[in-house]
Each structure stands twice: as C-alpha cells, then as structure tokens.
Subunit: 472 residues, 2 copies
C-alpha cells in the first residue's frame, strides 16, 4: 500500500478553478472533464513506453547495496564529498541535500554527525573552483564525477583539474581512492578513464536522462555518503508510483496537477511559479525548474511541426519572495500559475518570546511559533492571490527535515517527474530530448578545438563583429 494517510503528500487544486477565485480568472470544471480522454490516452502511452525514470523506484536493490557497501568501506576516509557534474548531474544532489540535511551542515560539525561535507560547484567559474580547491584538504576528499558520455566539457574540465591536483597532493598511486565515476555502463570517455584509473563505478541507465536521474546513482551516491536514507527515498517514490497507476486524474495527483498546468498554459498563464514555504525546499524548486523547462520547451511536436511551445518555470521562495515577487504576482499581468508547497510540520519549532509588551506593532508576535508565522503567511498570500483571481495550487507535505522524511520527499520528486512526462504527452512533444542545446555546445566544441567541429568553429569566427555603435 501507499503509506498511511498522514504520511502522504496531497495536492490542493481548489484555487485553480473559477468558482474559488474572485473575478474572471481560473479554469472551469468542464475544461478538466474534457481532458479526461486525452489523459487516459497519455496514461496508456506512458504505461506502455515506461520511460526509464519510472523503473528507478523499483529496480535498484542491487544498486543501493553497492552504494551502501562503498560508503561502509570508505566513509571514514573522507571529510569532503565533491560532485563534479552540471545540470541534471548536479541539481538533484543539491536538492536532496538541502531538503533532507540540516541547514549549515557544511559549516557545523555537530550537524553532520560524522558525515562528509558536500560540495557541488556546478559551474566552470574559475574563481569558484579555485577557492573550493583552496578550501579542501584533498587527502580527505572524494570527487564523484558524473557524466553519461564523458563529453560534458564543464564536468570533464573540472575533473582534469581535480585529477591533477589530487595526484600532486596524494601521489599518483593513490589517486584511485579519491574518485568515483558515475557514467554509462558500456560506453563513453568517462567509462574509459574510470577503467584505466580503476575508479569505483556506478551506472547511469541508458534510458534515464539527466533531469530524470535524481533517483539513480546520479543523486543517490552523494546522498548516501551524507547520511540520507536513500532506501526511504526510493520507497517514497514507489509509493507515489503506485498511487499514480490510477488513470483517473481525480485520483492521481501527478496527472491532476499536470493537466491543470497544461490547461492554464492554454489560458495564457505560461509561467509556472514553484514557491515552497520552506527554505529547505528552495533547491527542489531549482531542480524542478530544469525538469519542467528542458522537458517541455520544444520547437517541434512529435509530428515534426513547428510549435515553439513550453511553459516557463520560475523558482520562488516563501516567505522571502513576498518581499520581492508578490507585488508582481498580485498586480502584474495574469500570466502565471503559483504552485505553493506547504510543509505542515517543519521538524523544528522556535517560540517568539514576549518582549516589548508596550509596543503595539511588535508585541502581538510574542507567544507565536515561527512555523505558525511562516504557514500563516502562506495562507494569507494564497487568499490574497485568490481574491485577485490569480490561479494557485498547493502541494501539501506532511513533514520535512530529518532523514526519516526521505520517504515524503521521494513522493514529491516522483510526482513532479511523472507530471512532467504527462505534460509532455499532452503538449504532444518529446519530453526526453533537448535538441536546442546542441548548437551552443557545438560552437563551444569548435572554439575549444575538439576534433570534428571545425565547421562550427569556422561559423563562430565568421559571425558578424558587434557594431561599436551599439555598445554604450
């Protein structure tokens, strides 16, 4: 079964509908009813194709065992765990860490309980990587290099630098202990390197793309080393997968949420804001940003017709962004859907003390809990948006923070993945490719001198020089 009621996440879509919004905004119930057949068809297609991510919650007992074994053998060797990966090979790692481990984990030894610090540079900024290496004791550091093909220029560049520095520091013969390779099981440059250097290896399944890989070794290895309950995470995902075997969208949170997003897009609400009221979920919103944008932003549909379609995901954070973005969401064009995430139990409580009882504008705060203020602000913002006719929904998470809640996060991640796949079906595009990134990548290869990209190199250097009159 899918876990007890109070351990389940829920999706509240009341405020997506005109009947619950002031004014003319919002969807009509008939619009959803009319989608039923399409959703059922999408369900059949997904059930038949079973894209790779759908297998991850179920088929990884051996993978988990291997990860736990490596952690067992090595955990006392490392104070620092560095993920060298970019995009889908980085965002999942960051999201798991900030959602499930305590804030200030890296800085505060007491909060780490013996686990290594986690670093995910996720960029080729020279200042950032230089200062990172200056901060780490390389003797006590392991790098997990993540790239399916081993051709990702950013990841491989950082790897080459790290490989040299580690060799200088610990001696060439000991390099093996400081790297893990997460890559294809059967092809590619990183696999070649890993074999040559005798690095421990984990496989990225062929049919799991970067943005759908958080529940594969891509996300699981760093999580396990940092003490996160990866089995719980997978169980949570499996719970959600089972709940989502239901083809009726009113029984299926992923389908319901995905369908409403799709309908809203066609009403002109082309931006999907994800706004968790939990600082710990900010990086889940960032992870989702890739998932939603890269899966659904497509030039052509599956018949090869030009469509240039795709909602724009926006990452926001409550209560912080009430003081930054809510003005726009309330009063600007009605072109967004706000998807809140609310956490019922935050795992820590802080009482606001009763000080300055003579000061009217301050004294009312005393005696409340901070979590009460945070969740009140969410509900107040929700009500304010609804009273302006602005569509919004809420994903409700029973609890967060602390490893025991990995199971709840697993539900959320899988739900958002499946929702994205469903939306891909409804938009009638391929949600699993990313042809639009090739051109820029190929120019970079050309300029950097990679064999076979001479034409792109020429094209790059033949581009028009910028006109100085247009530089001010």
């Amino acid at each position: 079964m899918s876990g007890s009621e109070d351990e389940r996440i829920a999706v509240d879509v009341n405020n997506m509908f005109r009947q619950n919004l002031r004014g003319e905004g919002g969807l009509k119930l008939e619009q959803v009813e009319r989608m039923k057949e399409e959703v059922e068809e999408a369900h059949r297609a997904l059930s038949e194709d079973r894209p790779g991510f759908m297998e991850l919650p179920f088929q990884q007992d051996d993978v988990v065992k291997r990860i736990m074994k490596l952690r067992e053998e090595r955990q006392d060797r490392y104070d620092n765990f560095v993920v060298l990966g970019i995009g889908g090979s980085a965002l999942g790692n960051i999201a798991l860490q900030s959602a499930l481990n305590p804030p200030y984990y890296n800085e505060n030894e007491n909060l780490r309980s013996g686990h290594p610090r986690l670093y995910v540079p996720d960029n080729v900024d020279p200042v950032r990587f230089d200062r990172l290496l200056a901060t780490l004791d390389l003797e006590r550091t392991v790098f997990n290099v993540i790239s399916k093909s081993g051709t990702t220029a950013e990841t491989m560049s950082l790897y080459l630098i790290a490989r040299q520095r580690v060799a200088e520091e610990v001696g060439k013969e000991n390099v093996q202990e400081h790297f893990i390779a997460t890559t294809s099981s059967h092809s590619g440059y990183l696999l070649k390197i890993a074999r040559r250097e005798n690095y421990p290896r984990f496989a990225i399944p062929d049919d799991v793309g970067g943005r759908f890989s958080v529940l594969s070794p891509v996300g699981l290895v760093s999580a396990a080393f940092c003490g996160i309950d990866i089995e719980g995470l997978l169980e949570g995902a499996a719970d959600m997968a089972r709940r989502c075997e239901e083809e009726d969208l009113w029984q299926n949170p992923a389908y319901l949420h995905g369908t409403l997003q799709y309908l809203a897009y066609h009403e002109g609400n082309k931006m999907s804001v994800m706004m968790p009221y939990s600082h710990q979920l900010r990086d889940v919103a960032d992870w989702y940003r890739q998932l939603w944008a890269e899966s659904l932003g497509k030039a052509e549909n599956r018949q090869g017709e030009s469509v240039n379609v795709g909602p724009t995901p926006i990452k926001a954070l409550g209560a912080t962004d009430q003081h930054s973005q809510i003005q726009l969401y309330m009063e600007g064009p009605d072109d967004k859907v706000i998807n809140f995430i609310e956490v019922e139990e935050h795992g820590r409580e802080m009482e606001i003390p009763e000080l300055y009882q003579d000061l009217d504008g301050v004294n009312y705060l005393g005696g409340h809990r901070l979590s009460n203020l945070l969740n009140t602000e969410k509900q107040a913002t929700e009500l304010a948006l609804s009273s302006r006719g602005r569509m919004n929904s809420t994903i409700i998470m029973p609890r967060l923070n602390a490893c025991t809640n990995a199971r709840i996060l697993g539900q959320l991640l899988y739900m958002l993945e499946l929702e994205t796949a469903l939306a891909g079906e409804l938009f009638n595009i391929n949600a699993f490719d990313q042809p639009g990134v090739e051109l820029g990548k190929n120019y970079t290869y050309g300029v950097m001198g990679r064999d076979g990209y001479e034409e792109k190199r020429a094209e790059f250097y033949e581009r028009a020089e910028p006109d100085e009159d247009f530089i001010v």
Copy 2:
C-alpha cells in the same frame, strides 16, 4: 570624470535588433528613434524628482565615516555578522558579499582575512534559524536588524528570538554590544527599541525604498564589516550617475538598456532573463529580480487606470543554466529577452591540464583556461540564440572579484536602479510603491493578532474551506 575606459562597464545591444538576428525577431531601429522624446521627458522627470536612490552615491561621506568608525571600534569583537532583514533589507547584502568576497568565505578562515562570517537568513523558516543559532557562538556575534518601520513581522520575529537568546548567553547588561539597528532616523518601533536598548543606529533615508537601498546603510554596514571597499562602491555608482546625466539614450547605458527592455515587452517578450556568466554575480541577479518585479509590476498607471502591467524578471546563471534553461530559451515561445552579464577578467585563472591525450572527446580541453571555457560558452550561447532570432544583450564588466573592483560593481548596481526608474516612467506607473503586498500582509497581521487588523482576521477566517474533492 567617469573613470578610465577599461574600468567602465559597457552595454552591448547589437542582438536586440532585427538586423543582427536571424528571422523575424528583434526590434527595428526606428522603434528606438520613436522613443527618443519619451525618454527625454522621462529624463526631465527623473532629474526633477530625483528619487532618493539617486542621491546615495553623493551624500554619504558622513555615513561612511560613521560606519568605518564602528567597524574600527568593534571589528575584533565579532566572528559572525548576521543581517536580520527580508527582501530589500537582505538581497543587497547578499549580492555585495557574493560578488566581492571570495566564494567559501564563511567556511575558510584564510579567505576571510580576519573579517567576520556573514549570515543573512532572509526567511522565517524555523529549521533554518534554529540551526543558525546553534551554529553561532553568540558571544562573538552581532546582529544588524534592518527595517524602516520596525513592523516587518519576519524581521521583528527573528529579532525577538535573537534578543532573548543573546541575553541568555551574554547577560542582559551586555546585549547592547550584539545589535545594530538600521531604521528610520525619526519614527517607528525599531527606532524606539534601539533607543531603549542603546544600540548603535544607522538611518534609512525616508525616500529610499527597500529595493533601492543597497547603497545606503542597509547594504553598506555588513559590507564594510566584511572588508568590502564601500567607498569604491559608492564612487563606482557616482561614476555611473554622471555618465547617465546624458539624456540621449545612445550615450546612456541605463536608458538604452531600459528602453529596449520596454520595447521588447510590448513586442510580447515579457520575461527579462538576467544571466551572468560568473557564479559570483548570481545574487546580483536575485537582487535585480526584486528591483525589476516590485517596481514595475503594477495594477494601475499613474492616472489610476487599470493596466496590470509588468515584465517578469528571471534569474539564470551561465554556464550552469545552459544545462537547464537554454533548451526552453532556444526552442520555446519567443517571449523572453536574455540579458547576459560577461566578465572579461575573472580575477583567478585555472589552467586545464593536458591529460588523457589519446581520448578525442576529452583531450582538446587541455591547455585552455577555465575562464576561456566559461566566456566561450557565453559567446556560443549568444550566437546560438541570435541565430534563432532570440533577442539578447550583454552587460560587459571589465573585472570582478577582489575588493578593488567594488568600483565596477557600483556602476552596475546604479545602472540597474536607474534603468528601473526609467522603465517606470515609460510604463507610466509608480516604480516606488508596492500596494499589492498589503493585502497578504494585513491578513497575516490579523491572524497573528495585531491590534487594528480585526477585520482582516475575520475575513481570513470567513474564507471558504477548501473543498475536499479538490484535494487529491
């Protein structure tokens, strides 16, 4: 004069124009020409009104002296500097710190050269604040509480908690040494508290709103304590202010960039992506996100007519987001303008070593510098977007990172502020208020029990209960 040529930031708008883009995308030169009068009028209005932020680069010699004096007296007392503020009282602090101090500054003592760590919790998440207090040695910590009115519920709640904890830790009689108040000079609850507790005080000018306050004590105090050259920052802003006295938009980077954004909005490109190719500028993009959204997202124009206008700012990061958002920017709807920031000299260099020379897909990287890869990726992405007809521009910064470059950052911040004010004039809205945030705030006050908000409290509790059928 406005600083030497190679110390100036520049704005390259070539790729905003149809002549430089493939296909039908982009602006026509005539459109800009037709804006000339409007921009000149806006220039006259701004020169007459002189909104508060325009004075900040010039009138703060005494403020800077007072900040430096406090720093001088107290710098050995603190290992930790905590900013308690939210929105405009937090984002500027974060932006200055990450742009001008080294990455991993908090974690690595060597990189701090004796300055305190900086923490900006910027939220009322109980987990985050609890773990922060557990991480700090309160004996060695100072809190700068920032709120003009002292009624900001989030900031005051954190202050009350911190005030009690500090008193418990260091004794009531020593509390004074652990707080600074940055607030109105003449009214409000925080001023009252600061007087009662005898905290050092810095004034937020009446006519400087939160999102325009980074160059006031709101941003300067924490920056100074963390070793940032605040005089250089203000000089840079003054350099840009002088450059922008020019009413001709082809001579004025703020007006040119602002006008093109405005035109693009009316062409249907309602999202402004700011995408720095420097990890250190990611939080400048976040600061800008508030500036642009809260200033320009307005329900009514200055004649009180309903307009619901406002571009949506989006924060992106190169090269990272090439692996997350570029697919959408290349192939999705043509509804964005991409504003890159390019840094010519990153301040650190890292050479990629020549390893694995027999591996074709990897060996070409060796011998290049990491900064070369990063900037090549920017230019490759720019070319790819242009070849798809997607409007883009580039703000070019000569150098970054290290305190000596505060002067360059100061130019950028002032330019973006002025650009926002100009856009406010063009959109014909009040860029300096935020009426849309009041409703949610008032519901929160009501629920929390603040005097005078009983009606909003009633309204909140009278709202319709969510229909269970719409919760899945």
